[in-house]
């Protein structure tokens, strides 16, 4: 009976020790995985620092136009303030297959005005809305003197809000 008791207790001890050894081995493996993950994260942080700096530096510029309505209003008011004769003005919303820029506001604008005034207007738009993209530009002679007729297709990106850095 005593022998049986000793044998059983030793068997149980051996089982627990075996489980402990397996658990310690697993723990070492998991610890190594954590170390690798942290190294990988640190490497990615180092590699992406410049890109994230870029994203942060552009966040304010990209936040200027957050909705299609804001985009249309912004361009329409600039056209009005520019003192140019608007021949046509049309806006369309384009769905882009892009996670970052899911939507684009495309403005089709045609106006006529003094050559200097017209080009200054374009320069101001490009400076104030640096993320805007002139997709098409056509300048022809205007009806009179120094006037030009400018047809412009201007794209404004609507960037996914949650990716921009908080102001």
């Amino acid at each position: 009976m005593f022998v049986q008791g000793v044998l059983q207790s030793q068997k149980r001890l051996a089982k627990v020790n075996k489980e402990l050894a397996a658990a310690q081995s697993t723990a070492r493996g998991v610890e190594l995985s954590l170390k690798n993950e942290r190294t990988s994260l640190a490497q990615i942080q180092k590699n992406s620092a410049t890109m994230l700096e870029f994203l942060n530096s552009w966040s304010d510029a990209l936040r200027k136009i957050e909705t299609p309505e804001a985009g249309e209003l912004n361009i329409a008011s600039r056209v009005k303030q520019g003192g140019l004769i608007t021949l046509s003005q049309r806006f369309e919303s384009i769905s882009a297959k892009n996670d970052t820029i899911p939507q684009i506001i495309r403005a089709h604008l045609t106006f006529e005005g003094d050559y200097v005034k017209t080009l200054n207007w374009l320069g101001r738009v490009e400076a104030d809305l640096p993320s805007s993209r002139v997709t098409n530009l056509r300048i022809v002679r205007g009806e009179t003197g120094n006037d030009v007729r400018m047809s412009l297709v201007l794209d404004l990106p609507l960037v996914k809000k949650d990716i921009l850095a908080t102001p």
Partner: protein, 195 residues
């Protein structure tokens, strides 16, 4: 009732021993039995103490492993978020790279015009696949033979270079078409937009 030892002795018949008496050493048998029983109990007690200790250690290791796994999950989540954010930054960089202003280019072209020259039509359109490239077309009316060269030189002063150029002339009318490729990236991560 008490019976004397002598009387009892009388009741017992005399008999001869079948075997010789056991040697003295056999007296150790019960002693060893009790010692081994005691030893077994001590051994079982030690084993149980060790089982308790190992079980506690096992539990601690398991908890530590669970905590490490949680940290791994957190690190992986942070990495995924960082990768997604970097991907967004790359997408935006591509957009911005393909959105370089054309006003300065247009102004440079206009400034290159001599008094006897005039632009009839100027058009710029972005390549759909490669937004940083521009399809450029210019129709000029000029009596100046060096006008187009000056205009091309003016384009070269900007960050664009004309490639695959085609030109034709009919009297004073010159048509020029080219693909304008940006030579150096104007926008970089360290070059934020002017506010």
């Amino acid at each position: 009732m008490l019976i004397s030892r002598e009387n009892l002795h009388d009741l017992k018949t005399e008999r001869n021993d079948i075997l010789p008496p056991l040697p003295m050493i056999m007296r150790l048998v019960p002693i060893l039995f009790y010692l081994s029983a005691f030893g077994a109990v001590v051994l079982i007690a030690i084993n149980f103490l060790q089982i308790g200790h190992s079980s506690a250690q096992l539990e601690a290791v398991r908890q530590e492993t669970a905590q490490t796994k949680t940290k791994i999950t957190e690190t992986q989540t942070a990495r995924t978020e960082l990768e997604a954010r970097t991907k967004h930054a790359v997408d935006l960089l591509q957009w911005v790279e393909g959105s370089v202003g054309v006003q300065s280019l247009t102004v440079e072209i206009s400034r290159s015009m001599a008094p006897k020259s005039a632009i009839n039509e100027l058009s710029l359109s972005r390549d759909e696949k490669n937004n940083s490239q521009l399809q450029f077309a210019l129709k000029l009316q000029t009596a100046d033979s060096g006008q187009l060269e000056r205009t091309i030189e003016a384009i070269r002063k900007t960050s664009f270079r004309p490639f695959s150029a085609k030109q034709s002339q009919e009297g004073n009318r010159i048509s020029y078409e080219a693909t304008l490729i940006r030579e150096t990236p104007v926008v970089t991560a360290s070059n934020p937009p002017n506010e």
